[in-house]
């Protein structure tokens, strides 16, 4: 794990330059200037957009303000998806900065979950942690953690966008426990992953997948992609908007590229590839 710290850091400090623009249909007292922000990939929109909200509320009347939600080129952005996944799904081929439109009315109930407070985000985050740990360690690690440890995990994630190196160390001080396994076990019980698809009705694929085959061979990313979608080409898998080598062993990827949500989020990109 110490050797992988460089990769962990690069993943942790991944940022997306974003330009938030208020929707033209919103009623404002004066023209709203766009708001620019570097969004951390490994966080959630509702956690890191307080300043955006404050900026636009300055030009709006209180009575016109409902729950804030975001949209990109007509597609509502799901706050419960990591920011990096949202960008890779919708906007990876566009020119930076990523232009997101901010709305304060007409919340799309059919497309988005409501997020009235940050406790909802925390609950979602902890749910992901527990889900991943159930797959990896039969929930033993997360059940052994105390509530303050859970809080610390979530807090470091939420404060991540301050780009403080300390947050990285403090986060990993907790997350490390979730990423360890004994040598007797030989690895996680199952690899927690989720494959988001750009060209499918199903939002993502999530199935049980062991890190080692029955005959003792360690599985690679290519093996996973092949099993989940036999028609996928070898280089269709995108993780954090990069094309990792398909020979990469799943357990190492899971260790280094899984972060706060402990779920390895992969993306199937079929038609277009970022060049």
């Amino acid at each position: 794990m110490a050797d992988d710290k460089d990769v962990l850091r690069d993943v942790w400090f991944g940022r997306i330059p974003t330009c938030f623009t208020l929707n033209q249909d919103e009623v404002t007292e004066r023209e709203a200037e766009p708001y620019y922000l570097l969004l951390p990939r490994v966080s959630y929109l509702t956690l890191v957009t307080d300043k955006v909200k404050k900026h636009f509320l300055k030009v709006m009347k209180a009575e016109d303000v409902e729950e804030m939600w975001f949209e990109y080129e007509g597609t509502p952005l799901k706050w419960h998806y990591p920011i990096g996944v949202l960008f890779d799904l919708h906007a990876s081929n566009t020119v930076l900065p990523w232009s997101i439109t901010v709305h304060f009315k007409n919340f799309p109930d059919r497309d988005l979950l409501h997020c009235p407070s940050s406790s909802i985000v925390e609950a979602h985050f902890m749910s992901s942690i527990k889900e991943a740990d159930a797959l990896k360690h039969k929930s033993q690690v997360v059940n052994d953690m105390q509530k303050k440890d859970h809080k610390q995990l979530y807090r470091e994630l939420g404060l991540n966008w301050y780009r403080s190196a300390d947050k990285f160390d403090q986060f990993w001080a907790m997350n490390r426990k979730l990423m360890e396994y004994s040598t007797e076990d030989g690895g996680f019980r199952y690899i927690p992953f989720r494959i988001y698809q750009t060209m499918s009705d199903r939002p993502f694929i999530q199935k049980l997948f062991r890190p080692v085959s029955p005959d003792g061979n360690v599985h690679t990313l290519g093996d996973l992609l092949k099993e989940m979608d036999p028609t996928a080409l070898p280089n269709d898998g995108v993780v954090f908007n990069i094309f990792p080598p398909v020979c990469l062993r799943r357990s190492f990827m899971s260790l280094t590229l899984s972060l706060c949500f402990s779920l390895l989020s992969s993306l199937f990109r079929r038609v277009s590839r970022p060049r």
Binding site: D3, D4, D6, V7, D10, V11, G14, R15, P17, V95, L96, P97, F240, N241, I242, F243, P244, P245, C247, L248, F252, T256, L257, P274
Partner: protein
């Protein structure tokens, strides 16, 4: 193990590189400075913020248009090249198609020849099989004939052996008889010599008389000699 990490790190750095954004920022800054300096230089009065913004947007649009036209020009060049390449490959494809057709025709002809030869070979193999069967039959017949010939030869040899034995026996008997005949003759002559004296004695009477016993012996001897000579004659005739 290290190779995947360096690959991933390189890709992450490439992904997070914001060089394009920085480039655009630099261009904007340059244009803004340019516009600001021009606007102050013209009238000596600081032109309004909106005007500067408009000028900035105009300059940026001009710059983008220039970049786009350059891109269009590059793309057009690439397009021409690709079209030429496409035409070349299309001609290659049609050439290969012609070649494929020719080869297909040749292949069909060869297949027909092969099937014909196969048919001929089959007929010949059937013919060969029939000839071999016939040969086998003939060999069997020949073997049988040889066997019969051997048997006949054996029988003939056996018969000849028996005949030789018989002949030897006969010859032995003949010799014995001849020996006896000689002896008898000798006796006869002796007897005749002895009887001559009585004949000579009776000749004084003028007749010659042979004793009846002597006559009988002479007749018997003559008959036996005659019989043996006839037998010898028959045997010699059979040998021939």
């Amino acid at each position: 193990m290290g190779s995947w990490k360096s690959h991933v790190r390189a890709k992450l750095q490439q992904r997070d590189q914001m060089s394009q954004l920085e480039e655009r920022f630099e261009i904007r800054k340059q244009i803004l400075d340019d516009v600001q300096s021009k606007s102050i230089g013209r009238s000596g009065v600081d032109v309004g913020k909106n005007t500067r913004l408009l000028q900035l947007q105009l300059r940026e649009s001009e710059h983008l248009a220039e970049k786009l036209s350059q891109t269009v020009s590059d793309l057009t060049t690439v397009l021409y090249l690709k079209e030429a390449e496409l035409q070349y490959w299309q001609s290659r494809v049609s050439h290969c198609r012609q070649e494929a057709l020719t080869l297909a025709k040749g292949s069909n002809t060869l297949k027909a020849t092969v099937s014909q030869l196969e048919f001929t070979a089959e007929c010949q193999s059937k013919e060969l099989a029939a000839l071999r069967a016939e040969q086998k039959g003939l060999k069997q017949t020949l073997a049988q004939a040889w066997t019969e010939k051997e048997e006949l030869l054996q029988r003939w040899m056996e018969e000849k052996r028996e005949e030789a034995v018989r002949l030897n026996k006969y010859n032995a008997a003949q010799e014995r008889w001849q020996h006896w005949a000689k002896q008898l003759k000798r006796h006869r002559h002796r007897d005749m010599a002895k009887e001559d004296i009585p004949i000579a004695t009776s000749s004084w009477s003028g007749t010659t008389q042979t004793s009846p016993s002597v006559t009988q012996r002479i007749n018997n001897t003559a008959v036996i000699q005659q019989g043996h000579s006839d037998h010898n004659h028959d045997s010699a005739a059979a040998k021939v």
